[in-house]
Symmetry: C2
Subunit: 228 residues, 2 copies
């Protein structure tokens, strides 16, 4: 069986879990806390990034790009490609994924995850402790802007890159789901973005993410609600 080293609230781990589920591939989840720098984990991926996918034949795919491309290249023959059909749509899907993994992650997901979640687990000597509320406030302000962009994109289609689900939807929803867990999303004024997130949230591939609980950190009240 495919194995996946993941952390429940890591947006990149979440995307590969959703990808596997959308492609109908069963997988064994192994929780990893990259900041603990476990020796066997670092041996698999010296960059210490998540997720790490280990395929049935032992192929190790370190990082979301390698894991996703590997699944598309080795399994897409059996499934509709989540990366889009045809060069133009594939280019558009990748542009969006790069936007969410670059700008959105840097400005929103990464600071929220670090300040509100990871700092609780990391010893003070390694930078753990209370959240830096200035960073949290900046992240929430950026999130508000970016929700407007998602609202704009989803006012034209049911989904981000057309009417079929793609990796762009998975990437966006997984990043947003972290801010949803920490209770930092305000849905007022972005009805198309909200309707889009409801559509993604109701997919069977998203359900397991809604059951994730990180010890000691309760998700926001509406986190697991499909009608929020």
């Amino acid at each position: 069986m495919v194995r996946l080293l993941h952390f429940p609230l890591d947006p990149f781990s979440r995307r590969i879990r959703m990808t596997l589920s959308e492609m109908g591939i069963a997988c064994e989840l192994l929780e990893e806390r990259p900041w603990e720098a476990r020796e066997d984990f670092i041996a698999l991926n010296p960059a210490a990034t998540l997720p790490v996918l280990i395929d049935e034949d032992g192929t190790v795919c370190a990082g979301v790009e390698a894991a996703g491309a590997h699944l598309d290249e080795t399994r897409a023959g059996q499934h509709l490609s989540l990366w889009g059909t045809g060069p133009a749509q594939r280019a558009e899907v990748r542009r969006m994924v790069a936007w969410f993994d670059g700008k959105f992650h840097h400005e929103v997901t990464s600071p929220l995850l670090m300040e509100k979640i990871v700092k609780r687990f990391v010893p003070a000597a390694q930078g753990g402790g209370s959240p830096n509320m200035n960073r949290v406030r900046s992240a929430i302000a950026a999130l508000k802007d970016h929700l407007g962009y998602i609202d704009h994109l989803t006012s034209h289609h049911n989904l981000l890159a057309g009417n079929d689900i793609t990796i762009a939807d998975l990437a966006a929803a997984c990043h947003l789901s972290v801010a949803d867990y920490t209770g930092d999303i305000v849905w007022d004024g972005v009805p198309d973005a909200k309707a889009w997130y409801q559509r993604i949230k109701s997919r069977p591939s998203f359900r397991p993410l809604l059951a994730d609980h990180v010890r000691g950190i309760t998700p926001s009240a509406n986190y697991a609600e499909l009608d929020f």
Copy 2:
């Protein structure tokens, strides 16, 4: 003809220029300065990242991932794939590319490029001006560490991911070439890394990069030397 919006010292633009050349694809280069936020550029790529590849059929590929994957998917039938042969090598190549584009870029290329190059072109009100020498010193210290890693990788093979050239070599060399232009590489103590960089530097696909000059910023003395 393929067109490429690029900036001469952007490591991601450089990689796609090398990729096109290695694949034997002619291209028209159009210099872009992303910080100027030119309207037609932002319309093509709202994230304002480089490069942007415009294929002959009009397909727009924004960002290095989209551009590279597009070339591999639409042209690799005619060429040996630079992304490696077989799932295991492709996963390893992508792991390395993610390491250079993530960690190396964040710690070395991005601060050197911003502090030493881009700040000269950007108005003071937008953050231009003198380089922050603390950031430059941190980048040089990180570069020294990472050269040791490249030395380690290249002590086993001629090239980073085996004996054939891959996108991992192009990614690494293009990031390093920025630090080479700014004169911040010290080759003492890393003979295998140096021999590897000499091999890449002598490839025809690298030559045009050696002729790049950014107005007002002279490259280091050895920048264009194949025997340095």
